[in-house]
Subunit: 389 residues, 2 copies
């Protein structure tokens, strides 16, 4: 397989975009990526789209040709392919787009991720989000996605003495980062006091431990690394793209506090990219629920199992020193339009590696990692990105 690079990136504002349609935001992000990568749409080979639940949110299935159509590209009769993997939909679409270029099937591919979640009632939206867990063995018994993650939190606290404030600290960091990100859903800072005393969602998780439902879209243009400099001065190589899965239901896992899907995807990705966790200067990790972010730091190998709490307590990943996590504000504060998240993470990291995120840290970063999760970890995707000098 040949090397693949990100040539261009694009992203809409995340938030409650009630004045904008799914079609509009999908197209805006895609065109930004094309313009950024200096590619005429005539040279495009395929479109991949990460989208979780167009059917439930918009009563529209078959959503990839829709975006192709409204982007004015239907006349080219490109393949436009939708991929779904819950909250990892965008990241898995990126994996498929990566394979399409790496294989030589296409030279240039746009991978978009888009979701419009706030046009239906919160109850309906939550029910759709919950449907990424196991309907027959979890949801019918009353479990919800935050309730399942709350079990992970309780177990982690029990096993490792992790404190409720430890994962709460990640939300504080995320909001601080998002306050500098003009595209973020929430730009307000929050204090640990506010996080801990926020209205409970599923004990110990409160409102500020849970990412919002958002509208938004993001896109990246992929092409062969070999010719990438025709399109950009700073090609970003996709050094690894890995997807791994696990049981859909949480109670079937080997260990409640470890996402084996993340462990396996990360191990494969680091091996393929010939890097170690310590090489990663900046990472976007899935913090849809703050405890998930803590667990991710352990499962990705940034800290040993059980030490995530202490690491967050010490602010070890919040800048200055080790890997900086979630410069975008993460899912918690940048927002969580499900299908868009995995692509938006890569948009942020590309901007970091290019040095195009001036009001946020990590100047001179060379290696970055993106981590997305579907459900309670039935799917994990890990991408490692590298600045090519």
């Amino acid at each position: 397989m040949r090397d693949v690079a990100v040539l261009g990136v694009g992203m809409t504002k995340f938030g409650e975009l009630w004045d904008r349609s799914f079609r509009e935001i999908g197209i805006e992000a895609g065109f930004q990526a094309l313009v950024d990568g200096k590619l005429s749409s005539h040279d495009l080979g395929a479109l991949y789209l990460g989208n979780m639940a167009g059917g439930a949110f918009l009563e529209q299935e078959h959503i990839a040709p829709l975006i192709l159509d409204y982007a004015g590209l239907a006349g080219h009769h490109l393949p436009a392919i939708r991929v779904e993997a819950g909250g990892a939909s965008g990241a898995v679409a990126l994996h498929e787009g990566y394979l399409a270029v790496a294989s030589g099937a296409h030279d240039f591919v746009v991978v978009g991720g888009a979701e419009k979640m706030t046009d239906v009632s919160d109850v309906e939206a939550s029910r759709t989000v919950d449907a990424t867990a196991d309907q027959e063995w979890e949801l019918v018994f009353g479990a919800t996605l935050p309730a399942l993650w709350a079990m992970v939190a309780r177990k982690h606290m029990h096993e490792y003495g992790t404190r409720r404030e430890d994962f709460g600290a990640l939300a504080v960091h995320d909001h601080a980062m998002a306050s500098k990100n003009p595209l973020a859903h929430f730009r307000n800072r929050v204090t640990l006091e506010q996080v801990v005393h926020a209205p409970p969602v599923a004990d110990p998780l409160g409102l500020l431990d849970c990412a919002p439902l958002s509208d938004g879209a993001a896109a990246v243009l992929l092409g062969p690394l070999e010719t990438a400099r025709r399109h950009t001065d700073t090609p970003i190589k996709i050094a690894a793209s890995e997807v791994a899965c696990d049981t859909l239901a949480l109670h079937h896992r080997r260990d409640l506090t470890t996402l084996d899907s993340t462990v396996v995807a990360a191990t494969r990705a680091f091996s393929h990219a010939r890097h170690r966790p310590a090489d990663v200067q900046v990472a976007e990790i899935d913090d849809a629920y703050s405890i998930g972010g803590l667990v991710a730091l352990e499962d990705l190998g940034f800290v040993a199992k059980g030490e995530g709490g202490a690491a967050l307590r010490d602010g070890r990943f919040f800048g200055g020193g080790a890997t900086l996590v979630n410069p975008s504000g993460g899912l918690k504060a940048q927002g969580r339009p499900f299908g868009a998240v995995g692509v938006a993470q890569v948009v942020e990291l590309v901007r970091q590696l290019r040095g195009e995120a001036p009001n946020r840290p990590t100047a001179g970063a060379q290696v970055a990692l993106a981590h997305a999760v579907g459900g309670t970890g039935a799917t994990s995707a890990v991408h490692i990105l590298e600045r090519v000098n």
Copy 2:
């Protein structure tokens, strides 16, 4: 890219399978394919799943890891990836599985297609099916999928003098074929008289012009052609795998009676496989609506535009002579579990090319073609299969 072969196939009965769950049928088909291809699940690299609307039909998104899980494969942490493209979901999943093997990313991949459509009310199911057309510009104005295809029929009748009986003849043929297919949803024969006088659905289309909503699953095991003989005496090469898209809404097309997505996918596929339509001895074409089957014969190049009616009137594709279409009974009579259709077509063709469908024609066929459509043609997928001697 390296050559890819189908090593094994599997399929459940299609129909109203009220006593069986989605999980059960998905697993049954997948295991059949593994056993047929003599592969231990330990050697599997990835799972691709075509599924249109698990969210609407089962309140279950994130459905690919579910199948992996219930197949007992979650412990391997393979990537399990769901692809959606309306009625072409299975065929597009096959395209992605093909790329995964052709690229060298994986050696062995199972591509499954599955849908459980009859556990919800017919109204709900029809609404979900309609959601593969354009929600904002077709459905809100009262159009349904059969109504849109009825417009194609009217226009074809107007332009080319096609008669209502011409496309009706395809339904008669489909039922005759399905009567010999133990896995088919409908095994009764019907007469042209019955088709023409069936209760109207959307004039001129009647009940017997429209494929049913079905439950069912199908799976194929893919691997490198080079080593295929370790797994089967009769490897079937995937000589071409092409997906092409078009506008989501029918009224935006260049020509109402031509699916440009099919024309483009077929042209690319024939060019890649170095074959002409006349080389194809057996084909499974998308006849979800009988007029769609007629138009497909034209768009795939089996007859000239406008001559589909005369060809069906003469029974030119019904055996003995030119390409035989739909030996399985097609979507009309074998059944239409949306996500499974594109995979089931390939299962049938592999059995035909292997000579394993003794009670149905086409002995000695070497080249076969599968054609699947999403919506009214916003997605078309064409696969060309070849027996390797």
